[in-house]
């Protein structure tokens, strides 16, 4: 219940935060929403010597469209996403995702940056971001800034491409094309649980045919899993029920679940298949202007 001792730092600017990280080295952790880190610290599964709190850096809390991208500041909270009209209207997959994360109280503080930077394959945004082909913007010492393709960001359980002295500052998502839709469907044992499995799907259509697609899966592998074959099989088709069935099977094959208290490997693959099928259908309906 009670974390070990640490020093708390509350930098006023992003640069100050990065400098702190740089100076303090591996003993320091970023405190964003705190809803992944503090529970681990209360169980003493994590005992960082320093916490660098970026939750009060209000310049990291924004949702805006710019230069062909939806740009989300790292400190946008899940409830911020849930309640954004722009998100509800143009990026329903993000609303789908944020509203199934943990519970409403957690979502009031938990940040999208933290959800991604934590590198937990059980978190929900990572798969969604894969399906959306997002770009992770990362700032480091001396004003350095780099953009990481989401496919290169997740390296293993709780392990990302983020350097020790870097801070994830923004997520960039390509703005949707003319006819596109996305959807995230999660199966959880109860509210507040991680996914047994979840499936994120995005589809773009041109002239009635699927021109591009993104399919990614939550909590069925050491990292979020992109189901590439499943994506490919949709391309060029009208995404008929038959094709959806094929893609769902391919997604199940692409998943790498391990059996645990949430279910056996076999069951989780079955769930991936079911959810992916449903998510493709819903994404298609949304692309066609439905809900």
């Amino acid at each position: 219940m009670i974390p070990g001792a640490f020093d708390y730092h509350s930098p006023k600017t992003l640069d100050e935060a990065i400098n702190l990280l740089n100076d303090l080295g591996e003993d320091a952790k970023i405190l964003a929403g705190g809803h992944s880190l503090l529970p681990m610290m209360k169980w003493r599964l994590a005992e960082p010597a320093h916490l660098v709190d970026i939750s009060r850096l209000s310049d990291l809390d924004y949702i805006k469209e710019e230069n062909g991208f939806l740009c989300l500041g790292a400190m946008v909270t899940e409830s911020g996403l849930e309640n954004s009209e722009l998100i509800a209207e143009k990026y329903p997959i993000l609303k789908d995702t944020s509203e199934v994360i943990a519970d409403p109280l957690v979502r009031n503080l938990a940040s999208i940056g933290g959800n991604i930077a934590h590198g937990d394959p059980a978190n929900d945004h990572p798969a969604t971001m894969l399906a959306l082909n997002a770009i992770v913007v990362v700032c480091g010492p001396n004003g350095s800034k780099r953009e990481i393709n989401i496919d290169e960001f997740f390296l293993g359980p709780l392990w990302t491409a983020l350097g020790e002295n870097e801070i994830l500052t923004e997520i960039k998502i390509p703005m949707p094309k003319q006819q596109s839709g996305g959807c995230y469907i999660k199966l959880e044992r109860k509210v507040g649980d991680y996914a047994i499995a979840a499936s994120a799907v995005t589809l773009d259509f041109e002239n009635g045919k699927c021109s591009s697609s993104g399919i990614a899966l939550t909590n069925v592998g050491p990292t979020p899993v992109r189901a590439k074959d499943a994506q490919d099989v949709l391309i060029g088709t009208d995404v008929s029920n038959e094709v959806i069935e094929q893609a769902s099977n391919l997604a199940a094959e692409a998943s790498q679940p391990v059996g645990d208290h949430r279910g056996s490997e076999e069951y989780k693959r079955g769930v991936v298949k079911t959810l992916t099928g449903r998510a493709i259908l819903k994404a298609k309906n949304r692309a066609m202007g439905g809900n």
Binding site: I2, D103, V271, G277
Partner: protein, 788 residues
């Protein structure tokens, strides 16, 4: 309920008056144990074992003691100096307070750190270095009595295996005869897993010992403060604690459900620490400690068989059960009943005969077996019978409701003597089931199900017609460690007609401050708002065994009515004096005595109370008060019929409880609002183990389900909208005809839900699914043809 006898202002029985206790709770002004702060108070935290079975080679406290704020580390050796390292369990077994040689379950208490604040002691426990040597573990109770199984309780003289006790009830030979002569025998092994009460408040205490006076005061999360005080005096008399100088205070309790009946080692260590240091010591568990080490409930493996005829007549019942007690038999059962009231398992049906046997074994798991919102194993019994009845219906292809109706104990057969020796007080089972069926539209549901099945959709309807057994209990049969299970009420009427009433029970949310006042209002006509109710302080409350097993209304509630009747008898004498007439000429109507035939010539209970202190008749004692210790002549037998409707998502295996109709009969009702609230809560605590909750162990005895991440307490989203209704069949032997209700829904809901799920899958050949019914179990039944 028939018309109320009292006005809403008086608020006697049958009025849904608002709860008096809520005034403090809605303001955040309740006083729970962690809210108690004493001058100079220190804190305690506990080092726990990572192993399920291991030798303790050494405990090094040096680093912990060097940590700022840490004052002391207590080990088994420390306690042994005072002979307090072992304690008795409620079942007269023994249990370690802190170990000397070995640990026997994961998360067992190993040492305690005392320090100035919560944070220091939390650090301190990380710094206590314990060297363990792992021992082979016994996890599977079926292997516990294998010849090569390690003996867990090698500390007990004469304990040569892990078998603890054998218990049986019923006529074995006659039952066998019935089985041999019936058309159909249906068998199933049913497991009702380990679960936990998971009250939102965990356990804890503040123990304060005054070295100068020898006075020990303990504020603790207990449902039975008097019993705790007596046990303390019995086991710690040798260190100078005597009963008159022990005061146990049970403050506001944040949910108990049976989990706050046992004495946990943490309490004893905190008490010992305060006696040794002379300082107040606070110990509050965290959630993981609570789930991992405090008493579990259930964990019964039941081999069930029913013998029936093809026409649906139920003839015989046989159940052989293995009870996994963990490291010690620390069940909260009355002394004479090692398997509690499990033999009530013939349920609502008129079997010709039955035979039940239970064997208890030790395993390397935490001790327990508490009556979690359940009268001592009645949940297990009802689960077994209500599942088996459905299996018979399935086997002979008879409608599950029809089969029940055919075999119910008829209304005119009460008092009914069951083949396992119980005398059911009253019941009308047909009426309750019929009402549930009418309310939910049973026939339409059957039609809907048929149509859906043709479309490939999975929908199920499940019934549970349970009979409960509560109100422990008659002293000839029921005691805990020898203390008889009566309960008490002490009522004093003040001169101005207001009253204070004290009880041996202890509310943990049941609303005693309101309902007891209503009983007194009913009996004496004093408005319930004029009656203060106190419980939980052994210095002031009369002796009683506490609140669990739905016993408060059947015992202490009855005691209140009886005490009121004593008061009324005296009041009548005073009234005769005031009205200058004889007692025979007086008649009572709510709140006053009047002269027969002259209604204007009357004195109110308030007038009488005033006179009792200002103008009492010569020869009569002054004052107006009474105490009653109520020893019930029998238990009470509430019952009900529940119908669940579930929809199943075949793609994921998720079960959704679409509707749930609960018809309860708890006899006469004191406060319908409170009864309905208890039913909602109990149903939710029945939903939880049916679909979500379980504490299980891996092969090494490591717990799974030991935090709220894995112990899946349902939220408002998983919980359906409950539909409730009632029939009223008063208890013939209870002074106010009440029966108790708290646990009925927890007992009755799980089989209704399981029966509905199995019904939804029955056309696939599914006969049974053990709880919790996870989505995977359902998905496997549908997609992998895995049918039990």
């Amino acid at each position: 309920m028939s018309k109320c006898k009292t006005s809403p202002e008086v608020g006697g029985m049958g009025h849904s008056v608002k709860r008096k206790e809520d005034a403090r709770f809605i303001r955040g002004q309740g006083t729970y144990v962690d809210d108690v702060v004493r001058p100079g108070m220190v804190y305690m935290d506990i080092v726990r074992s990572p192993y399920a079975h291991a030798k303790i080679k050494s405990i090094n406290t040096e680093k912990a003691l060097a940590h700022p704020g840490v004052a002391a580390v207590i080990t088994g050796e420390t306690l042994k100096e005072y002979n307090l390292h072992m304690m008795p369990t409620l079942m007269s077994d023994t249990q370690m307070v802190l170990p000397i040689d070995k640990v026997c379950y994961q998360s067992q208490e190993v040492a305690a750190v005392i320090g100035t604040d919560r944070y220091s002691v939390a650090d301190g426990i990380e710094l206590v270095e314990v060297e363990y040597e792992p021992l082979p573990v016994v996890v599977d109770p079926f292997k516990a009595t294998d010849s090569d199984a390690p003996i867990i309780r090698d500390d007990k003289e004469g304990q040569e295996s892990n078998h603890i006790w054998h218990w049986e009830e019923g006529d074995k030979a006659a039952t066998e005869e019935i089985f041999n002569n019936s058309d159909v025998v249906v068998k199933e092994r049913i497991y009702i897993p380990r679960i936990h009460v998971a009250s939102i408040e965990t356990c804890g205490c503040v123990s304060e010992f005054d070295k100068a006076t020898g006075q020990l005061t303990v504020w603790m999360t207990t449902q039975a403060p008097h019993a705790i005080r007596t046990v303390l005096a019995l086991v710690a008399g040798h260190v100078g604690l005597q009963e008159d100088k022990i005061r146990v205070i049970s403050p506001d309790i944040g949910g108990g459900f049976g989990g706050k009946v046992p004495v946990y080692p943490g309490y004893v260590i905190a008490i010992a620490a305060s006696v040794v240091t002379g300082l107040p010591v606070k110990w509050i568990e965290d959630r993981r400690e609570n789930l991992q080490a405090d008493s579990f409930a259930r964990d019964y493996h039941m081999d069930c068989e029913i013998a029936a005829d093809k026409d649906g007549t139920l003839n015989g019942l046989r159940i052989k059960t293995l009870a996994d007690n963990g490291y010690a038999d620390a069940a909260a059962n009355p002394s004479k009943y090692p398997a509690g009231m499990f033999s009530i398992c013939t349920g609502s049906y008129d079997f010709k005969n039955a035979f039940v046997e239970v064997d208890g074994v030790y395993t390397n798991k935490p001790p327990g077996g508490v009556a979690y919102r359940c009268s001592f194993r009645v949940t297990e019994a009802v689960h077994a019978i209500e599942r088996m009845v459905d299996m018979v219906a399935d086997e002979i292809m008879m409608d599950a409701a029809e089969l029940r109706m055919k075999n119910f104990i008829p209304k005119d057969a009460f008092p009914y003597h069951s083949p396992t020796g119980w005398e059911y007080d009253s019941g009308d089972y047909h009426a309750a089931l019929q009402l549930a069926m009418d309310n939910i539209g049973y026939d339409e549901l059957l039609k809907e199900q048929k149509e859906k099945r043709e479309r490939g959709e999975f929908m199920g309807i499940g019934i549970c017609s349970f009979t409960e057994v509560v109100g422990a209990g008659p002293s000839k049969d029921f005691d805990i460690l020898g203390i008889k299970m009566f309960d008490s009420s002490e009522i004093r009427i003040h001169p101005t007609g207001k009253a204070i009433a004290r009880f041996g029970t202890k509310s943990q949310g049941q609303g005693h401050e309101t309902t007891y006042a209503q009983i007194i209002a009913e009996e004496l006509g004093i408005p319930f708002t004029d009656v203060s109710v106190e419980e939980g302080d052994t210095d002031t409350a009369p002796y009683g065994l506490g609140t669990y097993a739905s016993r408060s209304t059947p015992t202490a509630g009855a005691a209140a009515a009886m005490a009121c009747r004593k008061i009324k008898a005296k009041a009548k004498k005073i009234a005769a004096h005031l009205l200058e007439t004889s007692e025979e000429d007086l008649e009572w109507e709510v709140g006053k005595f009047s002269v027969k035939g002259v209604p204007d010539k009357a004195v109110t209970i308030q007038d009488i109370a005033f006179a009792a202190y200002t103008n009492h008749p010569q020869g009569l004692e002054a004052g107006l008060e009474a105490t009653h210790y109520y020893d019930p002549p029998n238990l009470t037998f509430p019952f009900g019929s529940y119908i669940a409707v579930v929809d199943i998502d075949s793609g994921t295996g998720e079960v959704k409880v679409r509707r749930f109709m609960a018809v309860d009969d708890c006899g006469n009702i004191i406060n319908p609002m409170i009864v309905e609230g208890q039913i909602h809560g109990g149903l939710t605590q029945g939903l939880a183990p049916a679909l979500y909750e379980e504490i299980s162990y891996d092969d090494e005895g490591n717990i799974t389900g030991g935090s709220f991440m894995e112990y899946l307490v349902p939220t408002a989203v998983e919980t359906p909208h409950w539909e409730t209704d009632k029939t009223i069949t008063p208890s013939p032997h209870h002074p106010i005809g009440a029966k108790g209700v708290g646990e009925s829904p927890t007992v009755g809901a799980p089989p209704a839900i399981v029966n509905a799920v199995v019904d939804a899958l029955s056309h696939l050949g599914v006969k049974h699914i053990d709880i919790p019914i996870t989505p995977e179990k359902v998905w496997r039944a549908i997609h992998k043809n895995e049918v039990a």
